[in-house]
């Protein structure tokens, strides 16, 4: 029998006469016993028995006085509420005939067709917006009775349509996909999981999700001005729209080197025209995308260097995350196909790695080598430098159009110089992350103070810049 009590009677009565299906009745009675929802044809019958106080379960005899007669128990597709077209006013049929073995079979077939290898499945459901308006309407209708049943009960204790749906269908899908555990929540991602997304749609397009959410915050007085309580009858129920299989995001971290002076970080397209060939992002992600069936990716790096700067040494570190089913990582695909970019230490990491990487951005130090030109002829002695200069640059003009005007103090930890000829020398710098080296060298119209022009008392300019190293221990190196 159903786990319903005497106190539930007024709720059950009110809901049944409003046009709710039996499972929605259970939901509003806050029944959290999963098994109760699964019995297809018995649920409504038991509800009627419950309110009419008939203890016998004999199926063949007297019909209950309620208009919505009990269904023929020989029907196996789980359709309830007697007169065929009576759609539940709250769930619009989702908990009636759309959660039976037929649906489960469809889901299983879709998953099998995609041909994944996986151990666990997570089922997600997407419902039309109007459902939450109907839910709220029904809630307002029986709020008083629910609170009388148990003072601590509130809207949060009402079982959600999505939950009930999953409770019913998960077991059925498991049966179809032999050997796979269907779970409600995703735990730690150790193995890869496939996620079928079951989307429902309904005819009415009255509500956008945003409007629906706003409506559901209203009290009875305000809500009922927009929508009736209890909800209106529906002429037709929901139809399942789509079953999609999605992959879980995978995060891959690593380090990369950039050996080319004419390579932007991201594709450089202005007005639909590509201005520079390729990009770091494309060179690293593209070979992997073609080797695996990736749907998309996001490339995130701890620092971006200009088009004309090379990244040497251990390299800048990157985080690639994308929706892909990964079976193995191939280094050679990237490192062999391009001279411009090389990767190393690629490893799968967790989502938390994102914040770890961004943390390092401020604290880390970077080492550079710059080729400096001076207007005045210099001698070796002129370029002996002091350490630990604090620079106070205003936002460089180069980026001022897209950044706020501010002064961000940065530290240059050390500098050294290598004489080349009276007008050129190599300047090595070790600086705090976020220091604009070019502006330090040419002064940016005097807006970066101190700058090399001032220190050397001559006009200077920067001809070349290389990143020698990025001094951070993350991600951990992987032996080749």
């Amino acid at each position: 029998m159903l786990p319903l009590k005497e106190k539930d009677k007024p709720i059950v009565k009110k809901l049944l006469s409003a046009g709710c299906c039996a499972r929605c009745v259970l939901r509003f009675c806050c029944v959290s016993v999963q098994a109760a929802y699964r019995q297809a044809h018995q649920v409504p019958f038991c509800c009627f028995l419950f309110i009419s106080n008939v203890s016998s379960l004999k199926k063949s005899t007297s019909k209950p006085p309620c208009k919505r007669a009990k269904p023929d128990p020989t029907e196996t597709d789980g359709s309830e509420s007697g007169s065929a077209a009576l759609v539940c006013v709250v769930c619009l049929g989702i908990l009636q005939d759309l959660c039976g073995p037929a649906q489960a079979k469809k889901i299983a077939e879709t998953v099998k067709a995609e041909n994944y290898q996986f151990d666990t499945l997570v089922l997600s459901v997407s419902l039309p917006a109007q459902l939450c308006v109907r839910e709220h309407s029904c809630w307002l209708h029986v709020k008083k009775e629910v609170r009388e049943k148990g003072l601590v009960l509130d809207k949060d204790d009402v079982i959600q349509v999505k939950e009930a749906f999953k409770w019913i269908i998960q077991g059925l899908v498991t049966k179809e996909l032999v050997g796979v555990a269907v779970v409600g929540k995703v735990g730690r991602i150790k193995t890869l999981k496939a996620q079928p997304l079951f989307t429902f749609k309904s005819k009415s397009f009255l509500f956008t999700l945003a409007a629906a959410y706003q409506l559901c915050l209203l009290c009875f007085f305000h809500f009922s001005r927009h929508y009736p309580c209890p909800p209106l009858e529906a002429s037709s129920g929901c139809t399942p729209q789509d079953i999609q299989c999605l992959h879980v995001s995978v995060f891959i971290a690593g380090r990369y080197n950039k050996f080319c002076r004419s390579l932007p970080q991201t594709p450089w397209v202005i007005d639909g025209e590509r201005r520079m060939e390729s990009s770091v992002e494309e060179l690293i992600a593209a070979p992997i995308l073609s080797a695996f069936r990736a749907d998309g990716f996001n490339f995130s790096s701890s620092g971006r260097e200009d088009v004309d700067v090379r990244t040497l040494g251990n390299g800048e570190f990157l985080l690639l995350y994308w929706m892909v089913l990964l079976t193995q990582v191939i280094y050679t695909t990237i490192n062999d196909s391009s001279e411009k970019v090389k990767v190393r230490d690629l490893q799968i990491v967790t989502r938390e790695a994102m914040s770890r990487m961004k943390e390092g951005e401020e604290e880390k130090t970077k080492s550079y080598t710059a080729l400096v030109w001076t207007q005045k002829a210099i001698e070796k002695e002129d370029i002996a430098f002091i350490d630990d200069i604090k620079v106070s640059p205003k936002t460089p003009l180069r980026v001022l159009h897209r950044r706020a005007l501010a002064i961000r103090q940065r530290v240059i930890h050390s500098m050294n110089a290598r004489f080349v000829d009276p007008h050129h020398f190599y300047l090595g710098l070790k600086t705090q992350a976020g220091t604009y080296i070019k502006e330090f060298v040419h002064g940016d119209f005097g807006r970066t103070k101190p700058n090399l022009c001032q220190l050397l008392k001559t006009d200077t300019d920067i001809l070349e810049l290389d990143v020698e190293s990025v001094d951070v221990d993350w991600p951990p190196p992987i032996p080749e």
Binding site: V307, D308, P396, L397, R398, H401, A404, E439, G446, L463
Partner: protein, 164 residues
């Protein structure tokens, strides 16, 4: 011999207007500087003071810009005065914006060291930074002259007037 790289994003495209040299960065920002032909430079004057108070109600120093979208920036038109320069011989020059846009900053270094304007007019002695409206960034340069056009005009010009 070392060559400057063909692609260098921090370089500027220079155009001219009257006695000013407008340096446009590739991200459409404009740095206003004195051109070599400005009387102050040509006639070797020394500067007594520079004043950013251009009217009773308006001082360019009070320009407070905040955020990425540069809220609070004073909007200048072609004829908006940026500053007034008084030379030691009491001649006064007004520097006008010559382009429309948001005034991002004026050079405060030249208040303390007016000499910068004479010694380094194209770099540390800059006057102001203006950001034209995105939609106008192309049309704004239409009335400005390239270096060739500018030099053509200069060679035809008669002896300069006292005020620019």
């Amino acid at each position: 011999s070392w060559e400057k790289l063909p692609l260098d994003l921090s370089r500027y495209c220079t155009l001219f207007a009257r006695y000013l040299k407008m340096n446009f960065s590739c991200c459409r920002l404009c740095v206003v500087t004195l051109a070599e032909t400005h009387p102050i430079l040509q006639e070797g004057r020394t500067i007594k003071s520079i004043n950013y108070q251009i009217s009773n109600g308006c001082s360019r120093l009070k320009n407070k810009v905040s955020g990425k979208s540069k809220r609070g920036a004073q909007f200048v038109t072609d004829f908006a005065p940026l500053c007034r320069i008084t030379c030691s011989d009491e001649t006064e020059y007004t520097i006008y914006s010559c382009i429309r846009g948001r005034l991002l900053e004026v050079n405060e270094n030249i208040l303390e060291t007016p000499n910068l304007l004479i010694e380094k007019p194209s770099t540390e002695g800059y006057i102001a930074v203006i950001l034209p409206k995105f939609e106008e960034s192309k049309s704004i340069t239409e009335h400005l002259l390239t270096r060739e056009e500018f030099e053509g005009v200069v060679s035809k010009r008669s002896v300069s007037q006292p005020s620019s």
